[in-house]
């Protein structure tokens, strides 16, 4: 976790800081280099980083880590450079002496991507022996990426002391990377290095091996070529796994968007073209929740989605009930008219949101537990996609259980199967209608919370899902939640396997055409209900 990491880094930094204090200042290339930070020139900054990092000066680490965090202040007029600590106290970067305050004319030393890479490389060799495990791992990895010869000695030093296995692996990989590019390394060392990197077996190993150049001994070049070959073939297998995962992930998004529709369309037979707008309302609810949290209770930000889910359900559900009572109930048995009226409704809702929240995208942040990714074998799984998949399946299961075990679920099924009979048994059918529609809309609202994490929160959000959702429900078979599940995942996976072959646009067209043809073959979808009841 980044926050955690930086906190630990700071502790480490402070301890170094205290050591630096005790040392007397000495003049020389280090001071000159520090002064270069004040030149407002990227090349000078780059040079200064190199000199400072390799100076061996105890101030090197505080300076460079301050540079990374934007806490290195430089005064272009006096050429003085200051390090502002995380506690707000500042020192003179050249001498290490504390200063009362940083002059107003000083501003943070600016970085660009090239400099960030230099900073990473410099920090890498400086933090190889940090007490923090994460910092060490990151350091080893950035040394691996930069594989500069100067880092060999620190890496070997660290390797000797390291006890943690994963850091040790990372360090030996870093060492191997350096050796591979070191012109005076022996052939044996290089061959060993190739083997180490081959064992790593990922894209970065491939990158490193393809980059070793032509001035290598023949045996090394050969070993590298065979390593590349074997890594590539294992990656090819992984890419199929990856496509399958992406398909599942896309399928979960489709399912989430379609699940509410499976209720309103599948169970009630209501064509709700404003379904997408219910999703949008859910997303905007998330936005409002986050706004309130951001301004009032910033500490709760990580829980914002948990708060938004029930709220989105209630808001979208309530709007759904209002829509059912005011419009849809007059149109039962007239599916085509319902379609038109709800389309009109979707225009109104979109424009209403546009008027209230403005036409531009609104920012909905990812809580920390939904940011980032982890590696599973050779594929990257992002947390937000994983959580959405889990969340979707949870919503699906809860819905199934609800339909099966609760009184409302029972009443809903009764009304769907035989309205007149249900009414004569004392079920308030109109109340059930309203609640069913509210349920479908509420679930669409919940979908909006999840979709706000991966898509735009704009008035057009819903429109981009409506056609896909209908395709899923129709493909899966109307009136069958399991059909919707299977339909969504089938379409998701098919799409993701088509995309690398046909490209995103043609892939999408192909899917649409396939669905149209499929409907001809099975007009009632994958899991159609049979029998006389369906025909009526």
């Amino acid at each position: 976790m980044p926050t955690n990491l930086s906190a630990r880094l700071c502790t480490f930094l402070l301890s170094l800081f205290l050591i630096a204090f005790a040392l007397p200042a000495f003049a020389g290339p280090f001071e000159d280099a520090v002064a270069k930070f004040a030149n407002e020139d990227y090349s000078d900054t780059d040079e200064a980083i190199g000199v400072v990092a390799s100076s061996g000066n105890k101030l090197a680490f505080p300076i460079i880590s301050a540079l990374q965090d934007g806490r290195l202040m430089a005064d272009p007029d006096s050429k003085k450079v200051y390090v502002t600590g995380t506690d707000g106290k500042s020192i003179d970067a050249a001498t290490g002496e504390p200063v009362a305050s940083v002059p107003d004319s000083a501003s943070a030393v600016r970085l660009n991507n090239r400099l960030r890479r230099s900073v990473d490389a410099a920090l890498g060799s400086l933090t190889l022996q940090s007490p923090d495990l994460g910092a060490r791992l990151q350091a080893a990895q950035s040394v691996y990426k930069s594989h500069e010869e100067t880092a060999l000695e620190p890496v070997e030093g660290a390797l000797a002391k390291e006890t943690n296995r994963s850091v040790k692996t990372a360090l030996s990989e870093a060492r191997a990377a350096i050796l591979l590019f070191k012109s005076d390394a022996t052939e044996v060392q290089k061959l060993e290095a190739v083997a180490t990197i081959k064992a790593r077996g990922d894209q970065e190993a491939l990158a490193l091996l393809s980059d070793i150049g032509t001035d290598q001994p023949a045996s090394v070049a050969k070993a590298a070529a065979s390593a590349i070959g074997s890594i590539q073939s294992s990656l090819a297998v992984w890419s199929t796994v990856q496509n399958a995962w992406y398909g599942l992930s896309l399928g979960s998004v489709l399912l989430l968007a379609a699940i509410g529709l499976a209720i309103t369309f599948g169970v009630m037979g209501v064509i709700n073209m404003a379904h997408g707008e219910m999703v949008m309302i859910g997303a905007y609810t998330t936005f409002v929740v986050q706004e309130v949290i951001r301004t009032r209770y910033p500490a709760l930000f990580d829980y914002s989605l948990l708060i938004a889910v029930p709220l989105a359900f209630l808001v979208a559900g309530a709007i759904g009930v209002v829509i059912e009572r005011s419009i849809i109930r007059f149109l039962y048995g007239r599916p085509l008219e319902t379609l038109l009226a709800t389309w009109g409704l979707s225009l109104v809702l979109q424009q209403a949101v546009r008027t209230m929240f403005g036409p531009t995208n609104r920012e909905v942040g990812n809580p920390s537990w939904m940011s980032g990714a982890f590696d599973l074998g050779q594929i990257t799984i992002t947390y937000n996609r994983l959580w959405i998949l889990v969340f979707t399946l949870a919503v699906f299961m809860i819905l199934l259980a609800m339909l099966r075990y609760t009184a409302l679920g029972l009443e809903m099924r009764a009304v769907t199967q035989n309205r007149r009979m249900a009414a004569s048994m004392g079920i308030a059918t109109s109340r059930v209608d309203a609640l069913t529609f509210g349920l479908g809309s509420g679930i669409a609202g919940i979908a909006g919370v999840a979709l706000s994490q991966i898509d735009n929160v704009s008035p057009n959000l819903g429109q981009s899902y409506i056609i896909d959702s209908f395709m899923v429900v129709v493909f899966g078979g109307v009136g069958n939640l399991w059909g919707t599940l299977v339909g969504a995942f089938t379409l998701g996976i098919a799409n993701k396997f088509l995309e690398p072959v046909a490209g995103a646009v043609l892939g999408k067209i192909a899917i649409l055409v396939l669905i149209i043809l499929f409907i001809q073959k099975r007009p009632r979808g994958l899991f159609a209900l049979k029998g006389r009841a369906v025909e009526a």
Binding site: Y42, R110, N112, N113, R114, R116, R117, D120, Q203, E204, L206, A207, L208, L209, S210, D211, Q242, N243, Y246, S249, L250, V253, Q351, R354, G358, P359, T360, N361, R362, E363, G365, N366, S371, G372, A373, T380, T382, Y383, N384, R385, Q453, I454, D455, N456, V457, S458, N460, S464, K496, E499, P500, G503, A504, V505, K508
Partner: protein, 440 residues
């Protein structure tokens, strides 16, 4: 079955009814056209979508023109008359753009129109402006390959945005491998064609260029981001040049951030991502990714600071952002005012002839000039995304870059120039010394 005899029908056919209905319709038509233009104001047409998918971008531009007109009227208007904005809503519907343009010019008798965002909307209104001989100021960066007498292009041509950005990446970031990712429409297609030709001319091999197109509003970027990562791990420094359009950018950047594509590893330089687009995302994972524009809100010049202050005061929103197309409208509007004052008339013919050569200060400390090809000179900035949704300028062109109507990199257009002053031609072939096509 019984059938009505013919004479019956003739009898029931009401001649009076037809006459009345027709006359009513004609009168109705005539009275619509009878709307009189007030003579004591100069009318300025604003042709930006206020609803539909493009409202997200264009609403701000409508507000910008209203703001500029307000400011100008505070200074006493122009030629002693107040300016009056005529706002219409083409509703992101391209044929409606043409209809509304016609209405603005014929019915409302505007002297100039500021409008359009997408190329297709410009293409849609183009014949109308030519036919009715009026002026359109078009404020958005576009694919070039056009120079029309009635249109003034205040946004960037490809050589004022794409090429400098690629130059920067090549020189400063030492990029060797290129991903050209774009939405599948004309601007990205053309820009990528130009870039491909340019990169090849700089010695980049075909296998080091990956081109990828996605549909409008694409939201599932998993595969493409993974492909980019894979392409970028071939051992050479890789960068992504993104011509991805508006709405699709948010999920794209979110996916980039989540899959851990850092700017320091694979930087993305975008041509369609500005302050407004970033307003919808948490930019912290995106720090270091780049955008190339002719203006950034964060640029510190007195002119820009005053503009932002006045704009936020006018819109009563202290957080309202500014962006590149807004600056283009500011420049275009000021150029038009100057041209009108120069010829002391709002007659389109006179103003069109007066505009080339007119100079107006831009907001970034320079002075832009209208060129004979109806494009303007502009500085080019490369900005890095900062954590607060603004840009930090990391590079700028030493001087102003003149906009090329016709790309030098494309076979079809390398010999063409637009020159409405000397040659009176938008597509003049310098090889054959002929004005091509309809421009003659």
């Amino acid at each position: 079955m019984p059938t009505k005899p013919i004479h019956d029908i003739a009898a029931s056919f009401s001649r009076r009814g037809v006459l009345a209905a027709t006359a009513g319709l004609m009168l109705g038509l005539a009275s619509i056209s009878g709307a009189k233009a007030a003579d004591d104001t100069i009318k300025v047409g604003v042709l930006h979508s206020l609803s539909g998918t493009m409202a997200i971008s264009e609403t701000t531009l409508k507000d910008t023109i209203l703001f500029l007109i307000d400011e100008q009227n505070k200074k006493g208007g122009v030629l002693g008359k107040k300016l009056e904005a005529v706002v219409v809503d083409p509703a992101s519907n391209w044929p409606l753009f043409a209809e509304k343009a016609r209405e603005l010019i014929t019915k409302d008798k505007v002297s100039v129109v500021f409008g359009c965002w997408t190329s297709v909307s410009r293409k849609s209104v183009l014949p109308v402006f030519k036919e009715l001989n009026n002026i359109l100021f078009y404020p958005v960066q576009y694919e070039g390959e056009e120079s029309e007498r009635n249109v003034f292009y205040t946004g960037a041509a490809p050589n004022q945005q794409a090429i400098p950005a690629v130059d920067y990446l090549m020189k400063d970031e030492k990029v060797k491998r290129w991903v050209l990712a774009g939405t599948d429409y004309v601007y990205p297609r053309t820009t990528n064609k130009i870039l491909e030709a340019y990169l090849k001319s700089k010695g980049v091999a075909q296998e080091d260029i990956m081109i990828n197109y996605t549909p409008f509003g694409h939201s599932d970027w998993q595969t493409i981001v993974a492909d980019i990562k894979k392409f970028g791990s071939a051992g050479k420094k890789t960068a992504v040049v993104s011509t991805i359009n508006g709405d699709a950018n948010v999920p794209f950047y979110k996916e980039l951030g989540n899959q851990g594509v850092k700017a320091k590893d694979i930087p993305v330089v975008a041509f369609s991502v500005g302050e407004e687009e970033l307003a919808g995302i948490d930019t912290k994972p995106l720090v270091g990714h780049l955008a190339a524009w002719n203006y950034f809100e964060s640029i510190k010049t007195p002119a820009n600071e005053k503009f932002i202050k006045d704009w936020q005061a006018y819109t009563k929103n202290p957080k309202r952002t500014t962006n590149d197309p807004m600056e283009a409208h500011v420049i275009g509007f000021n150029m038009w005012i100057k041209a009108v004052e120069k010829v002391k008339s709002t007659d389109p013919d006179k103003v069109i002839d007066a505009l080339p050569g007119i100079e107006a200060a831009n907001l970034t400390g320079g002075t832009s000039k209208m060129l004979p090809n109806h494009h303007i000179t502009k500085p080019v900035f490369i900005g890095e995304i900062k954590g607060n949704g603004q840009f930090d300028v990391v590079w700028k062109t030493p001087g102003l870059v003149a906009g090329d109507a016709w790309s030098k990199e494309l076979d079809g257009s390398k010999d063409l120039i637009g020159d409405w002053v000397g040659k009176k031609c938008g597509n003049f072939n310098t090889k054959t010394n002929k004005c091509l096509g309809s421009g003659s």
